[in-house]
């Protein structure tokens, strides 16, 4: 077995080539692409796959598991994967990245940076508060499940799970709301919205005990 696992779907699913399905009871493991395929290529294939399926639990695109490990693990957690497939039915992920404003003045040297460190920390805390308030306001108009805000360097990431029906219209409304509220509440920030995506951020299995390898 040398294919790459892309995720799980219900066993009754039929998919066209290049996808292959390994049936494991009431779920199927979707595979395609050779092992060792780059993360972005896997991501691209998972994005295409998401459009073909009503419900789909994606694997991580960057960390490739051995297919035999994935098959063995899947067989033991069929019920949990089915529950997750039910939860994701008709839903799709949209990800928003909020880029923090540039510092007012770049530091010229380490001494200045040290002196201003407390000020910067206060600024960042205030910016985080601003962003929490603004995202609450933006999302109050939508039927949405949201992740916590997570910071990656200068970006703060927010993942949303939205109904798949009418997603292009929803994205347009989300962009409008973000612009309206952002202009008033997030001066100096930039916001990037990408979707629809596989529900990467909503596929955690925190309650499962590790299995023997």
């Amino acid at each position: 077995m040398t294919a790459r696992a892309l995720g799980w779907c219900r066993s009754e699913t039929v998919l066209p080539p290049p996808y292959e399905l390994e049936r494991l009871g009431r779920i199927s493991l979707v595979t395609a692409l050779p092992e060792g395929t780059g993360a972005r290529e896997v991501l691209a294939q998972q994005i295409t796959l998401e459009r073909l399926l009503e419900s789909y639990v994606p694997t991580n695109a960057a960390l490739a598991d051995r297919l035999e490990d994935t098959v063995r693990w899947s067989s033991g957690v069929e019920g949990e994967i089915l529950d997750r497939l039910d939860a994701l039915e008709g839903k799709t992920q949209v990800t928003m990245a909020f880029e923090m404003p540039e510092a007012i003045e770049p530091e010229r040297d380490g001494k200045t940076w040290l002196r201003n460190r407390a000020i910067h920390l206060e600024e960042e805390t205030e910016l985080s508060r601003q962003l929490r308030r603004a995202t609450d306001a933006i999302l109050s108009f939508f039927d949405v499940t949201r992740s916590a805000l997570r910071q990656r360097e200068k970006n703060v990431i927010l993942d949303l799970l939205l109904p798949r029906d009418g997603i292009q219209g929803t994205l347009a409304r989300l962009e409008d709301q973000a612009r309206t509220i952002g202009l008033a509440q997030l001066p100096g920030w930039n916001c990037t919205i990408v979707g629809p995506l596989p529900a990467y951020a909503f596929c955690d299995f925190p309650d499962l005990e590790p299995c023997d390898g």
Binding site: L63, I104, D159
Partner: protein, 72 residues
């Protein structure tokens, strides 16, 4: 500080193909997520394998693992 607020929107394929730094960063953020069952990585320099990292049957997203300190 510029007091503007800029919003841009892209489809997933455009984001994947883009060289725009913001879209590249957002796609990188997606690579943190999704189900990881068993992670293994060899850190290799000039074809010499230096360190083996094994994450035995991890059942959560990588960011959760880091916060719970479950890395082996």
């Amino acid at each position: 500080m510029v007091d503007e607020f800029k919003v841009s929107r892209a489809g997933p394929e455009d984001a994947l193909l883009s060289n725009d730094r913001r879209l590249v960063d957002l796609v990188d953020a997606l690579l943190d997520k999704g189900v990881v069952i068993r992670g293994e990585a060899w850190i290799t320099v000039a074809d010499v394998e230096l360190v083996f990292l094994g994450l035995d049957l991890v059942l959560a997203n990588p960011d959760r693992i880091r916060t719970k300190g479950q890395l082996h």
